[in-house]
Every structure is written in structure tokens, then in C-alpha cells.
């Protein structure tokens, strides 16, 4: 087993939310078309550099979305999927909902970044429903994003409040999409999911061996 900590890049401390967002941002290839989910993934936009020329999509009908609007720039006809007023960048375009979801569902977005309750070793994503019997369900565009984007990056804490790992062999929460997640960015490590199973690209304030003790799926060090 190729599980020696020396094989994996690591930093001394766990990442905070902002550091994690910065890391995700730096990993997005220049020129990409990207959809950032509601909540933590939205932070990624603060760390995208202009020279990356990343174009942001919002599923309510816009490409070329700019930062959150403030003060006089607030326009209630210009909001993002979280219903927060945003701005328009040069080169933006507007389109209706079916065209917007066709863009997602047709595989045209390079990356979407989503939060998660759980991700399975096979890339199943659970992020829409706690499964609680009395919960009022709501799905929004999560299933379309999970299924449609070329790459699905998940941002989440690696462990739930009860200490259980959120990277699991099989999701116990209702799934959003099957075999769709390609990367998981957590406060303790970055995981790459694929045909070779779950690979650890880097760790933060921990080692691969320590992670393997706490995460119930086989982990290997990512090559190169």
C-alpha cells in the first residue's frame, strides 16, 4: 500500500474556510466556466484572479456574473442562485431558465463546486436532503449541477460534528447524483476520486496514515 505520508504534500495546520476557498480557486484552470453552489462554494469567487479569466455561471440565467452587489449597485433583477444581488461583468449574457439548465446539463460547464453532507468513495454525492422523515425537501439545481458539470468539486469539512467521516463507502443520506464527484476539498485533505479509487493529493495538519485511521474508505497517495 502506497500510504506513506512522505508521498503526499502536506501543510502543518488544517485549512480554514477562506484558505480552502483560496485553494479551490487556485486549482481552477484558466478560462474555465464555473458554477459555484450556494454557501461555502460562493467564497471561491473571492479568490479567483482576473488573469484566470474564469467565467461564472448562475443557473437563474446568466453567464459572466460579477461579485456581490452593494449599496447603489443593488438591482433586484440581477441576483444569483442564492437570491443575493450580484453584478454583471463585461462579456456577460442573459438567457432563460431552460437555456441556462441546458448549459449545465449539456456538459458545458468545466467545474461546479458544491457543498455536501456526504460523498462516497465512488463519487456519489449527498447534499440535498438529510433524510429526516419530517424534513421538507428542496432540491433546486443541485442534481442538475452534480450530473451535468464536467468536474464536480465538493467543499466540506471532512468530519461531521459527531466525529464521523463524511467521506464514506456508501452514502447513508439520499443521494444527489451517482458517481459524479471528482474532487473533495476538506479542511484536512484534498481527495481525488476516479477509476483508481480515492487518492489523497495533500493533507493539512494531518498525515495520510492518520487519515486512513479515521476515514472508512481505502486511501492512496496521489501520484505526482
Amino acid at each position: 500500500m502506497n500510504t506513506q505520508a512522505a508521498d503526499v504534500a502536506h501543510s502543518a495546520t488544517r485549512l480554514g474556510r477562506e484558505e480552502l476557498a483560496a485553494l479551490v480557486a487556485s486549482d481552477i484552470k484558466a478560462g474555465s466556466f464555473v458554477n459555484l453552489g450556494i454557501g461555502q462554494p460562493t467564497l471561491v469567487s473571492n479568490y479567483l484572479r482576473p488573469e484566470q479569466a474564469v467565467t461564472l455561471h448562475t443557473e437563474n440565467g446568466m453567464l459572466g456574473m460579477g461579485p456581490e452587489a452593494h449599496g447603489d449597485d443593488i438591482d433586484q433583477d440581477l441576483i444569483n442562485a442564492g437570491k443575493i444581488p450580484v453584478t454583471e461583468l463585461p462579456g456577460a449574457s442573459y438567457f432563460h431558465h431552460a437555456d441556462s439548465f441546458a448549459m449545465m446539463r449539456g456538459g458545458h460547464l468545466d467545474v461546479c463546486v458544491l457543498g455536501a453532507f456526504q460523498v462516497s468513495a465512488g463519487g456519489d454525492l449527498a447534499n440535498w436532503h438529510t433524510g429526516a422523515p419530517d424534513a421538507i425537501p428542496a432540491v433546486g439545481g443541485a442534481m442538475d449541477l452534480a450530473t451535468g458539470a464536467k468536474e464536480v468539486y465538493v467543499m466540506m469539512s471532512l468530519f461531521a460534528k459527531d466525529g464521523s467521516a463524511k467521506l464514506v463507502q456508501a452514502c447513508s443520506y439520499p443521494v444527489t447524483g451517482v458517481g459524479c464527484v471528482t474532487r473533495i476539498y476538506t479542511n484536512e485533505a484534498v481527495f481525488l476520486l476516479g477509476a483508481d479509487g480515492v487518492q489523497v493529493r495533500e493533507t493539512f495538519g494531518t498525515t495520510l496514515a492518520e487519515l486512513q485511521d479515521r476515514v472508512p474508505v481505502p486511501l492512496t497517495a496521489a501520484l505526482g
Binding site: 437563474n60 446568466m62 441576483i79 442573459y94 432563460h96 446539463r105 421538507i136 425537501p137 428542496a138 451517482v178
Partner: protein
């Protein structure tokens, strides 16, 4: 040629009990608030409503639900911090919910307008929302069979109409408007401005007039609307 109604009340007067009504808007953007208010005042009940959400706060669709006029709602995201009227109706078993992934919602509405009898999509495959649905593996990938959402009426908000019913929208307020206009037997549209036929450049028309039955001019939102927003 569409009818140009004198008031929101007049424009929705034809909506009877048990109608299926598509309601545009995503959040407040594109939400035809005055048409919804008129529908509430008109008294129609037993409605099936299609909207991305299930009402927010104490306005519009939320009030229709509060008054138990909505028998059934088809939407993607009913649960919101301020969706208390839906929450109460749902927990009381007094509203039927069909929860649909947002892209399937949009595509099903588009299919109704486009004469598509049904389609296969990967979205939702392997999830709770596909339980009981027909599935098919296409090119090695699981797909779910989805059907069109036809409706009697659509309530839509656009920016400007010409007298031929051609519409343009504003920014992300466009959202569901164009596909809902095409999917309903009759589309009722509130606009900020009405211009003469020929007043819109044919290259920039988003909804052709063929999809529009009734237009009513509602001047752009007054400042107090801002405060009503969550």
C-alpha cells in the same frame, strides 16, 4: 393580437377553480407580484401552481398557499427560511408537493411548449426523486423519463411588450418567463412598459407575441416593494 387589460384584476379574471397556473420568477426577480395578488383577490381555488419556490414571507404565492387556494404545487425549492405558509400547509397535509430538480422543471415546461411528449435526462437518476419513474441506460449512462408540464395559464413579468405581444425581459428576471409563456394555453403578462408594434427590434425579442394572450401595464415597482423583500 393580445388583449391589453386595464388592470391586473381584469387580466386574471378568466382563471377559474382547479386551473393549472405557471408562475414566473426566481426569488423576486421576474415574479409577477401584482398578477398573483389579483389571482388571490379573484378567489380561484383548487389551483395547481408551478413555480421554482413555494412562496416566501407574507406576500404573493405564500398568501395563496396560506388561504389554501393551492391544492398542489410543482416546484424545485419549497423550503426557505421564510416559507412558513407552505411549511404549515405541507405539514398539515393540506398541499400536495411534487418536488422536481430545477433543470427538469425548466425542461419539462419547455417540452410542453415545444410539443415534446417526454424525454430522458440523466438528472435525478439513482435518486429518491426518480423512484417509480421509467429509466433507461443510454450510451452507458442512466437516464430518467420525464414528461411535459402543460398548463392552463402562465403569469409572467416582463420589462416591455409591444402591442403584438412581443416581450423583452430584464437581466435575471427573464428566468422562467419565456418557457412558461410557451407552455400555457393562455399567458398573462405584466410589463413595465407597452410600446407600439414595431417599437421592439425584431432581433432582440425574447418571447414572440404568438405566446402572449393578455398584457397589463404595471408601472415599475414603487419603493415600498423593496421593504417587502426578505
Amino acid at each position: 393580437m393580445p388583449i391589453i387589460a386595464n388592470s391586473a384584476a381584469e387580466s386574471v379574471a378568466g382563471i377559474g377553480d382547479n386551473s393549472t397556473v405557471l408562475i414566473g420568477g426566481f426569488g423576486n426577480a421576474g415574479q409577477p407580484m401584482e398578477l398573483i395578488d389579483a389571482l388571490l383577490d379573484g378567489g380561484a381555488t383548487g389551483l395547481t401552481v408551478v413555480n421554482n419556490n413555494a412562496g416566501q414571507g407574507d406576500a404573493g404565492l405564500a398568501l395563496l398557499i396560506k388561504e389554501r387556494r393551492v391544492r398542489r404545487i410543482i416546484c424545485s425549492f419549497p423550503r426557505q427560511p421564510d416559507s412558513w405558509h407552505f411549511d404549515a400547509a405541507y405539514r398539515a397535509g393540506e398541499i400536495e408537493l411534487e418536488l422536481v430538480p430545477q433543470g427538469n422543471l425548466a425542461e419539462r415546461i419547455r417540452a410542453a411548449g415545444a410539443g415534446i411528449g417526454g424525454f430522458f435526462t440523466p438528472t435525478g437518476f439513482g435518486t429518491m426523486l426518480a423512484e417509480g419513474k421509467e429509466t433507461r441506460v443510454i450510451d452507458g449512462r442512466g437516464h430518467v423519463y420525464e414528461t411535459p408540464i402543460h398548463a392552463d395559464f402562465a403569469l409572467i413579468k416582463a420589462l416591455t411588450a409591444d402591442r403584438a405581444g412581443n416581450l423583452i425581459y430584464r437581466k435575471t428576471a427573464r428566468n422562467f418567463g419565456p418557457i412558461m409563456a410557451a407552455a400555457a394555453k393562455a399567458s398573462i403578462v405584466q410589463v413595465s412598459n407597452i410600446v407600439d408594434t414595431g417599437g421592439l427590434d425584431p432581433e432582440i425579442v425574447v418571447t414572440p407575441g404568438i405566446y402572449v394572450n393578455t398584457i397589463v401595464r404595471i408601472p415599475a415597482a414603487a419603493p415600498e416593494r423593496e421593504e417587502a423583500r426578505p
